[in-house]
Symmetry: C2
Subunit: 266 residues, 2 copies
């Protein structure tokens, strides 16, 4: 994930940045995951026209802050971000991680302002899609509207999956499901699904999964002891996907007995 950009921003900065910024939708590798899906020709150019390529964000830069007025939705082009909300006692709660091709800001359409903040986890570039223009364009292009609805629906679906996770599962099931989810998303983006770098800290993961950092750390160690993964800081290798899936699938209250039962079922 953090390959390309980090290496070339050092020398011949401007040129490379421009190159990165200028990729048109129809040349973008995220084509099929993103809004342009099923759109082509002049229609795609119209979409391309309303999209603004923003200057890359550095690690810890904010894409938008909590409460800022909603004007655009964003698509991650490369790199990654986390979204988080402040909580009453001044802590933050991580609500999501966003990989290339994923949309940000959909939760702000209804209210008109962003209920969460978005911060880059590494060098990250995004496309900005001004919402009024997008709305106008969807009136012209039914397929674009359809794809927008699809993507919003997917977001709802994914959130519900996570709710399931947070509501019922044990710490090991949560971490396991998290790793598998990241793995799948890398795969869909053409990266390796069995070996990757996590751009977020253990703290962010713990926060996201509703666990204490210590618990997450202990789970990482246990997964390694059990030969499920290899984890060298942020560098993760999935070594036994099947067992990880079993652990992630097992929900609520898994005692040793139920653990075996569930494995039989799967």
């Amino acid at each position: 994930m953090q390959q390309k950009i980090s290496s070339d921003t050092t020398r011949k900065k401007k040129v490379v940045d421009l190159h990165v910024i200028k990729v048109a939708c129809n040349e973008c590798s995220l084509h099929q995951l993103c809004l342009p899906r099923s759109i082509s020709g002049t229609d795609l150019e119209k979409l391309d026209d309303i999209i603004e390529r923003k200057k890359p964000l550095k690690r810890n830069d904010h894409l938008f802050q909590v409460g800022s007025t909603f004007q655009s939705i964003y698509v991650v082009r490369s790199g990654s971000l986390k979204t988080y909300s402040p909580t009453v006692d001044g802590q933050e709660q991580v609500t999501g991680f966003h990989l290339p091709g994923e949309l940000l800001g959909l939760d702000a359409i209804g209210k008109g302002h962003h209920p969460c903040a978005a911060k880059a986890l590494e060098m990250t570039s995004v496309c900005e899609v001004p919402f009024v223009n997008l709305e106008k364009l969807t009136q012209e292009l039914p397929t674009l509207q359809h794809q927008l609805l699809r993507l919003m629906s997917k977001e709802i679906f994914d959130d519900q999956e996570l709710m399931l996770l947070l509501g019922k599962k044990t710490a090991e099931a949560r971490l396991s499901a998290f790793l598998l989810s990241i793995s799948l998303r890398f795969k869909q983006r053409g990266f390796s699904c069995s070996e990757f770098y996590l751009s977020m800290s253990r703290n962010d993961i713990a926060n996201y999964l509703g666990l204490a950092v210590e618990t997450v750390s202990r789970m990482f160690t246990r997964f390694q002891e059990d030969g499920l993964i290899s984890a060298e800081r942020k560098h993760i290798i999935i070594k036994n996907r099947d067992d990880l899936q079993k652990i992630a699938g097992i929900n609520e209250y898994c005692t040793d007995q139920t653990k075996k039962d569930s494995q039989a079922v799967l």
Copy 2:
């Protein structure tokens, strides 16, 4: 919530049912919460035309099953439903409760089939909105499209709120937030926000909040002891909203000390 319909289905059944079914969008009390918002005149008639009023569901009737093909989204007209997904070990996980004016099925648009089932918690009537027709109509009516996007965005936002709850909060904070959420939703629908009937069982609540039934029951008793609410089975009276809000707001790891801190802050 369960007033009107339950009383009159006993006698002169047909007539009353028809009456309930025939209310047009522009006469519906949910007008402002529902898709018709900001739409009027002939435009509203067009929307009205594509909406089918379904025959009321009895308690425990399914509106749709898991995996059934997605064809329509639904709006609750009266009564209430729960949505739930099956989990690997054959249990069910409640993913939401739906009150009048709320949409169901938005999570199915992306996949083409329903990832969860919807079951009526009491006598319930819904409007069915065939999705292809709705999509077509949104092309004609920008305000309708806008409202659809708003409602989907709201769903995403609400789900994230719940994730926050499930991720970080203690049992008392979860139940407290749940009660306040229901209370608010009743208020928005013109019912009392301080006194209402819960249509769902303790079991459903526990399941939804990711807690054991026993824990929920204990919390109900404690809230009553503390004079926060009165709970006579399903009949709830909110007696001290302020303190409930404080409890709901307090997140993660509330020891006696942090409890006091948070109260000071609020």
